[in-house]
Amino acid sequence: MRRAFDLSLAAAGAIVLAFLLLPLLALFLRVSPATLVHELGSKVARDALVVSLETSAIAHAFILALGTPAAYLLATRRFRGRDLVVSAIDLPLVLPPAVAGIALLAAFGSRGILGGTLSAFGLSVAFTQAAVVLAVIFVASPFYLRQGIAAFAAVDRDLLAASRTLGAGPFRTFRRVALPLAAPGLAVGSSLAFARGLGEFGATIMFAGSLQGQTQTLPLAIYAELDQDFDAAIAIGALLVLVSIAVLLAVKLLPSWTRSGSISPVPFAPSRSS
């Protein structure tokens, strides 16, 4: 009886694993490595890679520059409505991508609520590279914020207090104590957000369109090449799989690497004073 149960567990596990891995393997098995490399040299693939890297880099810079202080604020300060704000951050995570796209159009599109203001300054956001950046920020920043809040919240408050009594003001305390101690968690969040941003599709195609060399990112190029050149689509897909694997390894390895080192997220056994 017990043996039968164990066998059925193993069978279920094997089916799940095969289902998850087979499509990924198929990407690499369908065409030869030589073709993969050749197809990645095509104009469509190269244009998409440039657009993806540019927009991801800009979006990521915004996410880090604004998300880090925001996460620190939410992790260390108590104020009214804080729980509501923290919950709202999770919303883009569960929002259907099409809804994210239409929502961004409603806000920044030419007929959106900010569209009039933007066009008064001669700015048009929708269907430009700026729209790609906005879409990526919208869907990817929650990954960084969530990790960042958790990482800053895990820093012992006494360490921040100690820094203050040692003459460091709030900013120096943030820079010299909170930031280095939260760094491993922030790095994980950063990797996750980058991966999510690189793979962004739904909101981008609605809000930014798919213009080659302008707004066509790697995932959009896969979609565009599907009818034109299936091998090229496969090659771009394989490239994104490799990037995903790299991010996954980074996320798995970062915390264990820092734990075995001297920077420990939990410095000493927690103990509360009276």
Binding site: A161, A162, T165, S264, F268
Partner: protein, 342 residues
């Protein structure tokens, strides 16, 4: 060196911390049960907790609620040693000490005997070493006030004994206004010679350990010091002594004056034990059964009924004290102190 002066009110969960103090060159220890407001007091002095009202000064004014002065922690010249030390785990010992230092730190490392540990990170240090680093870090700032939160609580019993003596010497040498808080009276008297008792946010008594011992202000103070507290009704006798009828009916004589409901204090080291009530000068003999024997280094604490006596290990051996056997606890009328009404 300017003294630390404060007078403040700080609401806590179920009562308010209300306290006025002056600490000069003589270090002061505040003793009290956990939750008495000890840590809050230190945090208020350091600027980490904002009192409802009051003032704090040490040379310059740090807080004055009436004049709207409230310096942030980084502008108060204070060295705070946290209970679990709060060393920065990502910085070496030397960088921890240098964090708030006003100059070179070599001398400070030397003084606290941690120069050899300069390159080590705090998670690799022992408890005693961590404490030295925390002290060095606080002192490297050349603060005008030193605050210590339960300086011995995080140490194991053996390290504690060593740290006690070195810390006592260090505090005396520093000559800094030093305020330390602890829940352990023995730690307080081991470290400083001026002790205050803090109960529910208020200072109940302030004095030398000897003053606290001979005339504790309240039964709580007596209990804190380790005395036996017995409760009963007192009445004057013709011979000038006071007779106290305890709750269990035992009659006890005291040389102190008192009447009505009283608390009676007897220190464990003033109680002698014998097999039978002998012919000695003690006026009080209480028959009882040994309920517990707790060895303490070269002494033994013996619980006889509601009394705890402290005798040398040799005496306990000679008497052959065993749990469950009958024994007589004796103490003189002069050793039975009356603390007035409860």
């Amino acid at each position: 060196m300017d003294p630390l002066r404060l007078d403040l009110t700080c609401p806590l969960r179920s009562f308010a911390l209300e306290l006025a103090l002056e600490v000069g060159e003589e270090p002061l220890a505040l003793v009290g049960p956990s939750g008495a407001g000890k840590t809050t007091l230190l945090r208020a002095v350091a600027g980490l907790v904002r009192p409802e009202r009051g003032w704090i000064s040490a040379g310059e004014t740090w807080l004055d609620s009436q004049r709207g002065i409230d310096l942030p922690p980084e502008r108060r010249s204070v060295g705070l040693v946290f209970q679990d030390y709060a060393l920065f785990p990502h910085l070496s010992v030397e960088d921890n000490v240098r964090f708030g230092a006003s100059g070179a730190v070599g001398e400070t490392l030397e003084r606290l005997g941690i120069r050899d540990l300069a390159g080590v990170r705090p998670p690799e240090l022992s408890g005693g070493e961590r404490q030295r680093v925390a002290l060095a870090r606080a002192l490297a700032r050349e603060p005008s006030v030193l605050l210590l939160d339960e300086p011995l609580a995080a140490l194991d019993a053996r390290t504690r004994v060593q740290v006690r003596s070195y810390l006592r010497t260090l505090l005396r040498e520093l000559g800094l206004p030093t305020l330390l808080v602890t829940h352990d009276y023995a730690d307080a008297v081991a470290l400083v010679s001026r002790v205050g008792v803090l109960v529910e946010g208020r200072l109940v008594q302030l004095g030398t350990p000897k003053e606290l011992l001979t005339s504790p202000a309240t039964p709580f103070v007596a209990d804190l010091i380790g005395g036996n507290l017995l409760f009963g009704r007192a009445a004057r006798r013709g011979d000038g002594l006071t007779e106290v009828v305890l709750e269990d009916g035992t009659r006890v004589l005291s040389t102190d004056e008192g009447s009505g409901e009283v608390a009676l204090l007897v220190y464990p080291w003033e109680i002698t034990l014998s097999r039978t009530a002998g012919d000695d000068s003690s006026r009080n003999h209480v028959q009882g059964v040994v309920e517990e024997l707790v060895p303490l280094a070269n002494r033994v604490r013996v619980r006889v009924g509601s009394l705890t006596a402290e005798v040398t290990a040799a005496s306990a051996e000679r008497l052959g004290l065993k749990v469950g056997e009958g024994v007589v606890a004796s103490f003189k009328a002069t050793g039975a102190r009356l603390l007035g009404s409860r």
